[in-house]
């Protein structure tokens, strides 16, 4: 199988890296070549900046250039479109202003190499993706930046390719563990597990809007489905003591339906309080992009009594691997993929630059990192 075959049905496809230089843009260039061979019309945008010659933080690192065939749609800034010198037709203007200029949508009249910097905000990413689909793109590829995940939310995209690599750690086992945790997070189980309880919780979470100001509210739910609305910003800023008080005041609480972000700081305090009381709690979020973990993966929290579930699932289609950490160290590609396949048995794992990749390999040397 190839990346393009695995993702053929995803109209909007997100590419997300676990860190800088894990090979997002290399995966993008591989996909672009495969789609070009199949004669598919693509639209491309980036939540960061793509196709630049050198890394923005470490100028010693060369980045892969992005070459698009004639007919492609692209969302990038006015300045970068002009700098590409590729003949194009403007098909849409946006109100999106970035630090690099205003975002335009264009159809390229000729093939060429271009830097891509589209909108950063998730709702804007969705809007330009839909605009490119409306203008004839059969698939829109949304390249990530650094370790940003927001564009992979099911509210924005239909599928995800995750990039990982040696850059995560000098220890290959640690790279595998961190990747496994990240995959587990992306694939958190749905709260809708087919049971009546799951259905009721999903309904409660989807309806969790305050009657006072229309803002979404976080709800604590007990075993009889009675709800307590938590004060605004409780999950963002509450200290350990108030969390303990909340649990004691609601001894039969079983579920916490979180309206917005779920930071690690809150989870750590929560898991401590839950564990000490020998209780169990299921925390439900809209999707896994709302969860911010630090060091510990979902499995660790589950073993301590706090289980994470989502309302909307992300379709993780493939993982790409960059066995090289630029300016640092590298692993054997086959060994790294082998260890990852053992830890994550049910997701296809590729090194698109390796000779054994079935798809069309991007031109090596031109593309070592991304």
């Amino acid at each position: 199988m190839t990346l393009s075959e695995l993702t053929a049905s995803d109209r909007r496809l997100a590419l997300v890296g676990l860190a800088k230089n894990t090979g997002k843009t290399v995966a993008l260039t591989a996909l672009l070549r495969e789609l070009q061979d199949d004669g598919r019309c693509v639209g491309v945008t980036s939540v960061g900046r793509d196709g630049e010659e050198h890394d923005v933080i470490d100028a010693r690192i060369e980045k892969p250039r992005v070459r698009l065939p004639a007919g492609s749609l692209v969302a990038t800034t006015d300045g970068l479109l002009r700098a590409s010198a590729i003949a194009h037709e403007l098909v849409g203007d946006t109100d999106v202003r970035t630090p690099l200029g205003r975002v335009l949508i264009a159809r390229l009249a000729a093939a060429g190499t271009i830097e891509i910097a589209g909108p950063s905000a998730a709702t804007d990413v969705r809007a330009v993706s839909d605009a490119m689909l409306a203008h004839g793109a059969e698939q829109v590829l949304i390249d990530g930046a650094v370790d940003r995940r927001a564009a992979s939310s099911p509210e924005v995209t239909d599928g995800l390719i995750m990039s990982t690599g040696a850059v995560l750690d000098r220890d290959i086992e640690e790279v595998v563990l961190q990747t496994r945790d990240a995959v587990e997070l992306v694939r958190l189980p749905s709260v809708e597990d087919g049971s009546d309880t799951g259905l009721r919780l999903a309904q409660l979470a989807r309806a969790g809007v305050s009657s006072v100001n229309g803002e979404r509210v976080t709800l604590l739910v007990d075993e009889d489905f009675a709800t307590v609305a938590l004060p605004p910003r409780f999950v963002l800023s509450t200290e350990a003591e108030q969390i303990a008080e909340l649990l004691d005041a609601n001894p039969t609480a079983r579920w916490l339906l979180v309206a917005g972000a779920l930071p690690d700081r809150f989870l750590r305090n929560l898991v401590h309080a839950v564990h000490r009381r020998r209780r169990e709690l299921v925390v439900v979020v809209a999707d896994s992009t709302r969860v911010f973990l630090w060091k510990r993966g979902p499995d660790w929290y589950r073993r301590q009594g706090v289980e994470l579930r989502t309302l909307n699932s992300i379709q993780l289609q493939a993982i790409t691997v960059n066995p090289i950490a630029p300016q640092s160290h590298g692993f054997d590609s086959a060994e790294l993929r082998g260890l990852l396949e053992e830890a994550i048995p049910d997701v296809p794992i590729f090194d698109v630059l390796h000779a054994d990749y079935a798809g069309v390999a991007p031109i090596a040397g031109n593309a070592t990192v991304g």
Partner: protein, 263 residues
């Protein structure tokens, strides 16, 4: 009369427009000699300079020769294509900012700032926000049209965001010393992602500052602007009030478009 500059093909200027003349100085680790002079000429030619010329050379210390050279640069750069990339902003002064805010916003602009994560440096954020300011320009705290909250250093992203939501902030300003380590970069992206997760990205301007923060890096990290060394408080204030006015205009346009579509 001066010749018009062709902004699509700019090259260095010395005596007359387009002469491409460059003065450079460097040291070679070779003894002071005629051979050293020849080496410098050859090196400049290899660098792409035409008509390289050694105007001065001397022994720096034994085994080292210092050169001052001229050469003609044969390359040009398309400046026209680079304009409009965001760094050609004309900054307003404090009075102009106050007048602009009064006219276009007619309310206080709320800014919350902090150094996040493990970063203990609060100098940058203090310079931008505190009354004392920086370089003879006082910080946003001193502006009538601004209401500021400086949370200090080592502030968790979630706590910064909670405060911003609580006070209905127009802008969040974070300061972070970006290094090649992923940790600092992760701190900056995590804030952006958390604002997204709270559904507030459209309501807040996100700006980051630090010694190595450029507009290119800011874009990569998902911020609306990046500020680096040399930034003065009125630069930041100019960006915020202009961006708020532009957003208000965009949403007014969107509303009227929706209304005309409905009507």
């Amino acid at each position: 009369m001066r010749d018009a500059v062709d902004l699509t093909a700019v090259r260095p200027y010395a005596d007359h427009l387009g002469d491409g003349l460059v003065q450079m100085s460097f040291t070679l680790p070779v003894p002071y000699s005629l051979a050293a002079r020849r080496a410098a000429l050859e090196l400049a030619a290899n660098m792409g300079f035409s008509e390289p010329e050694v105007v001065h050379y001397e022994e720096l210390t034994e085994g080292y020769t210092y050169f001052v050279m001229f050469g003609r640069c044969t390359q040009t750069v398309d400046f026209a294509a680079l304009q409009g990339e965001g760094f050609d902003i004309e900054y307003m002064n404090e009075d102009e900012i106050e007048a602009f805010a009064a006219e276009h916003l007619a309310r206080k602009v709320v800014v919350v700032g902090a150094s996040t994560g493990s970063d203990t440096h609060s100098v940058g954020i203090d310079a931008m926000l505190n009354l004392k300011g920086y370089h003879g320009h006082h910080g946003l705290e001193g502006y009538r049209s601004f209401e500021t909250y400086n949370l200090g250093s080592q502030v968790p992203n979630s706590v910064l965001l909670a405060k911003a939501i609580e006070v209905d902030a127009d802008a969040i300003l974070v300061s972070q010393t970006v290094t090649q380590q992923n940790l600092h970069v992760h701190n900056l992206t995590e804030l952006v992602e958390m604002v997204e997760a709270e559904g507030k990205r459209g309501e807040m301007i996100l700006a980051c500052g630090g010694p190595r923060v450029s507009n290119e890096l800011a874009k990569e990290l998902g911020y609306d602007a990046g500020f680096s060394k040399g930034t003065e408080p009125h630069h930041l204030a100019t960006f915020i009030v202009r961006e708020l006015a532009a957003r208000a205009e965009s949403s007014a346009r969107a509303t009227s478009a929706t209304e005309s579509a409905i009507g």
